[in-house]
């Protein structure tokens, strides 16, 4: 897959609009953009951004899992150094089935943070090459997730 490399923020947003069909684009400022996508599209998004890593000096900075009472949110914070931009991809995950596709085999830098979110928030990353304990001790009880706020 090869895409035309965007030369400014508007072109990047247009590319995202075309490729990912986002649910909601929230432009807080020209340095902070939040894009909500369907969780099924996360692998597509990862592949799209991976192609931009080299030309736009971009990387996956980290991901945050947030407990929002009726659902979980996984926020992937991508940094585009060329534009001085943090683009946050927001995926909503239902509480009764906390599962999302892993992007660790596409972006190596996602491996640790996915294992951490699995440990602390109990989100299952399907297809992760090695979804073992990272942070919590080996004798930590199953099914206890310290960062869940609402049970």
């Amino acid at each position: 897959m090869s895409v035309k490399v965007p030369s400014n923020l508007d072109e990047l947003l247009k590319l995202i609009e075309e490729e990912l069909k986002p649910i909601k684009v929230d432009i807080k400022s020209d340095k902070r953009v939040y894009v909500e996508i369907r969780k099924e599209d996360i692998r597509k998004a990862a592949k799209l951004f991976l192609d931009l890593f080299e030309p736009l000096r971009a990387r996956l900075s980290t991901a945050s899992a947030v407990d929002c009472r009726d659902h979980f949110e996984v926020l992937y914070h991508f940094t585009f150094s060329q534009f001085g931009l943090v683009l946050t991809l927001r995926c909503k995950i239902p509480r009764y089935k906390p599962e999302i596709d892993s992007i660790a085999d596409i972006i190596y830098g996602a491996s640790f943070i996915e294992r951490e979110m699995h440990d602390l928030m109990g989100i299952v990353f399907k297809g992760h090459p090695n979804l073992e304990r990272l942070i919590l001790p080996d004798d930590w009880p199953e099914g206890v997730y310290p960062l869940r706020r609402y049970g």
Binding site: K31, R32, Y34, F53, E54, R57, R59, L60, S61, T62, S64, V66, D67, L75, H77, T79, S81, Q82, G84, L85, V86, T88, I107, Y108, G109, A110, S111, F112, I113, L120, R133, L134, I135, L136, P137, P146, L147, R149
Partner: protein, 397 residues
């Protein structure tokens, strides 16, 4: 990796007294050569994010300051910037310059500490002493400026907590900067030109540009591999837009390149401080605000080890809904796998050290008998005993 080649597994770690995040490196070796690496972190997980969900924003500033004892102004600055981003709060000019001053002084002492430790790791204790000798006056400056050598407690959302007495401190800071600049440049030349240093560092632990991008590395680790990324330039915070930063980049990607990048950054930091002291404006040091909104924000900061990033979700109360912290070493640790594979065990300490976790000592050694699937964990004393008597520990137990 074929399992039968894993004749011996040597764990490095997990506890490194000098380092903020103890890690376990399982080095699978074939003879002397490292053929595979497995990394396990979390040995001193202190639940900072869990605690942060139960504290007020003002308290969390002090909590995140305790994440690291070396770059202890990085996390509070980053957290305050995340809160300010969420609240759309403008920081007064004087506060921005004070943040820059403290941040750059910290970068100098952190890089000097690292350079000393790195040279100590390869057994070059003379230069270790020299580097640390010039770190001391910087720490004393910080103590005089803020009251503490570490954990300066200078930050608060909207600005800084204390003003600095510029009339008294400016000549002192300039004097120290003048005194350390030339010697550090000289020691840097000595490091670059020394045969022994070259023999241990050049061509060792190479991180290629492609791997640096693939593993999402940050900071001097990425800049040593030719990636020109620096939050101070890419997304200027504090007073870096006015003061400017010359980003130092080396393309070799080996341990020597990462060392020299840091030495050059020390000199650059000294120059930033000199420019900063001339330009500090007068005025308020803190922006006032009434209450916390329902909003989310991302803060970024170029810590000595690389990009630090915090995510904050405020819910309208003083206690935030979620605080996410990503320290730079967390991003750099996975990149140790391509850096270590193919090199000898003796190079492992300096390679692991090259991303700037303070590496200390091998605590325990465990030996795996692949044929029988047994693992024996030995203390260092026991291991030394076996080593001296030249007995196979697997046969003895």
């Amino acid at each position: 990796m074929p399992e039968e080649r894993h004749t011996v597994m040597i764990p490095l770690g997990p506890y490194h007294p000098a380092y903020k995040e103890p890690e376990m490196f399982k080095l699978y070796v074939d003879g002397e050569e490292i053929v595979d690496v497995k990394i396990r972190i979390g040995f001193q997980h202190r639940g900072i994010e869990y605690l942060a969900q139960r504290m007020t924003v003002q308290q969390i500033v002090f909590l995140v300051e305790r994440i690291c004892g070396i770059c202890s102004t990085s996390h509070p600055t980053c957290f305050c910037q995340a809160v300010e981003d969420a609240m759309k709060l403008e920081v007064p000019d004087r506060a921005r310059y004070i943040r820059t001053l403290i941040g750059e002084l910290e970068r100098i002492h952190s890089h000097l500490l690292w350079a000393g430790v790195a040279l100590h790791l390869i057994g070059y204790d003379t230069l270790f002493m020299y580097f640390w000798r010039y770190r001391e006056p910087v720490c004393e400056l910080l103590e005089e400026l803020t009251g503490n050598r570490q954990h300066y407690a200078m930050l608060c959302p909207g600005g800084v907590r204390r003003d600095i007495d510029l009339k008294k401190m400016k000549p002192k800071i300039l004097k120290v900067m003048r005194e350390i600049k030339e010697p550090i440049a000289k020691i840097g030349d000595a490091v670059a030109g020394d045969k022994l240093v070259k023999a241990r560092m050049r061509g060792v632990g190479v991180l290629t540009r492609q791997d640096a991008i693939k593993y999402c590395t940050v900071g001097p680790t990425a800049r040593g591999s030719g990636l020109k990324i620096d939050v101070r330039v890419d997304e200027p915070y504090a007073a870096y837009k006015e003061l400017g930063v010359d980003v130092k980049v080396m393309t070799e990607g080996d341990v020597l390149a990462k060392t020299l990048v840091r030495v050059l950054e020390i000199i650059e930091s000294i120059e930033i401080i000199e420019r900063c002291l001339d330009a500090i404006p007068n005025g308020p040091i803190r922006a006032e605000f009434d209450e916390y909104p329902v909003a989310e924000g991302v803060g970024k900061y170029e810590a000595p080890r690389g990009e630090d990033i915090h995510y904050v979700k405020l819910n309208g109360t003083t206690v935030p809904e979620r605080v996410k912290v990503r320290a730079p070493t967390y991003a750099n640790i996975p990149s140790l796998v391509p850096q270590l594979i193919g090199y000898s065990i003796a190079d492992a300490p300096i390679i692991i050290g090259s991303i700037d976790p303070c590496f200390s000592c091998t605590e325990r050694v465990s030996i795996i008998d692949v044929k029988e699937g047994r693992t024996i964990v030995l203390t260092m004393d026991e291991f030394n005993q076996f080593s001296r008597k030249r007995k196979n520990p697997l046969k003895v137990r």
